[in-house]
């Protein structure tokens, strides 16, 4: 008996590491009238479904794949956002 769990993983550049993409977005905002916005960082959002017996088991697998593949620990942090179980 397994269930399908949906996870969302948010990968972002480590704080302090230059984020040229975020900077480009930020520098285009004043032209649109948002001169009051700063600290823009651009990351990556990954959604995935995991078949597993328990949520803890599924989450452990997501932790591992997020650290081994979805993110590079040298430059990125990741956060597992939320989970939702759907019987399958």
């Amino acid at each position: 008996m397994t269930e399908r769990f949906t996870f969302e993983v948010l990968v972002s550049l480590k704080p302090g590491l230059a984020d040229p993409q975020g900077k480009a977005v930020e520098s285009s905002l004043p032209a649109l009238g948002w001169a009051n916005v700063s600290g823009v960082r651009v990351g990556r959002h990954v959604r995935l479904d995991v078949e597993a017996a328990t949520e803890a088991d599924a989450r452990a697998q997501v932790e591992e794949l997020a650290s081994r593949l979805l993110s590079n620990p040298v430059i990125e942090d990741f956060r597992i956002l939320e989970t939702e179980a759907r019987g399958s």
Binding site: P20, V74, I75
Partner: protein, 237 residues
């Protein structure tokens, strides 16, 4: 491929590799034997050195080199490197070696956010590698770069090790060897263009020596690197 008796240098083609042909051609031009290897191979065909070429392996999805790192051939490349075999990663190949953990650091987008394609000068920082044995520290060589994500960065601990242990192989510089911000095309930490591992047999660099061996089409800074690589491949045989 030619049947000359030179050292055999394998060049791995991943789906999305672009510079594999030029790398094979550079090997042959400099007197070696080019051996085409495939990402799904589980055997390096007894080559004496391995090149991971430039390009966009697996579309560069996720991160440059992130998926190529798990290709079957990479297990063999890691084993070959452990035995002291010369491994050279160029551009995307450098990114793959970083993702594999065979070299320190990682690559992020150029600070200009632009793809850069032009000739640059590199200052040689060490002759203790298979590609710089014929070069003298302080000397400069000209080769092209062509990358959008070539800004090498590292954790403070890694950067301290890379600098402290003499692992920097090349820095971006002026023709006369001045390293400053104006000559750093992509914003790389300490203007680092190429590094090596502790043992010195694994090297990665963003610039393209394989595009710089033929005087008819551009600079020739790649010639001494390929000459060195062939000599050390011969020694490794």
């Amino acid at each position: 491929m030619s049947s000359s008796g030179g050292p055999r240098v394998g060049v791995v083609t991943f789906p999305g590799s672009l510079d594999d042909r030029d790398a094979l051609r550079a090997v042959e031009t400099m007197g070696g034997v080019g051996v085409a290897l495939w990402h799904a191979d589980r055997d390096l065909q007894g080559v004496d050195a391995v090149i991971l070429p430039g390009g966009f392996s697996y579309g560069d999805y996720l991160r440059c080199g992130a998926i190529a790192r798990f290709a079957p051939v990479m297990e063999q490349v890691a084993r070959f490197a452990e035995r002291g075999g010369p491994v050279l990663g160029i551009c995307n190949g450098f990114q793959i070696l970083c993702e594999s953990g065979l070299l320190h650091g990682a690559m992020i987008r150029n600070r200009s956010l632009r793809f850069i394609c032009r000739d640059v000068w590199l200052r040689v920082e060490t002759s203790q590698t298979p590609i710089t044995a014929d070069l003298t520290p302080g000397e400069t060589v000209q080769v092209p770069i062509k990358h959008g994500e070539g800004q090498w960065v590292a954790t403070p601990e890694q950067l301290a090790r890379v600098e402290g242990d003499g692992l920097v192989v090349f820095r971006y510089a002026s023709e006369d060897g001045v390293v400053d911000d104006a000559h750093n095309p992509n914003g790389a930490a300490n203007a680092i263009a190429g590094i090596r591992n502790d043992r010195g047999n694994v090297i990665g660099l963003m610039p393209h020596p394989e595009h710089a061996v033929d005087p008819d089409v551009g600079p020739t800074g790649g010639q001494p690197m390929f000459a060195s690589l062939l000599a050390s491949a011969m020694a490794h045989t």
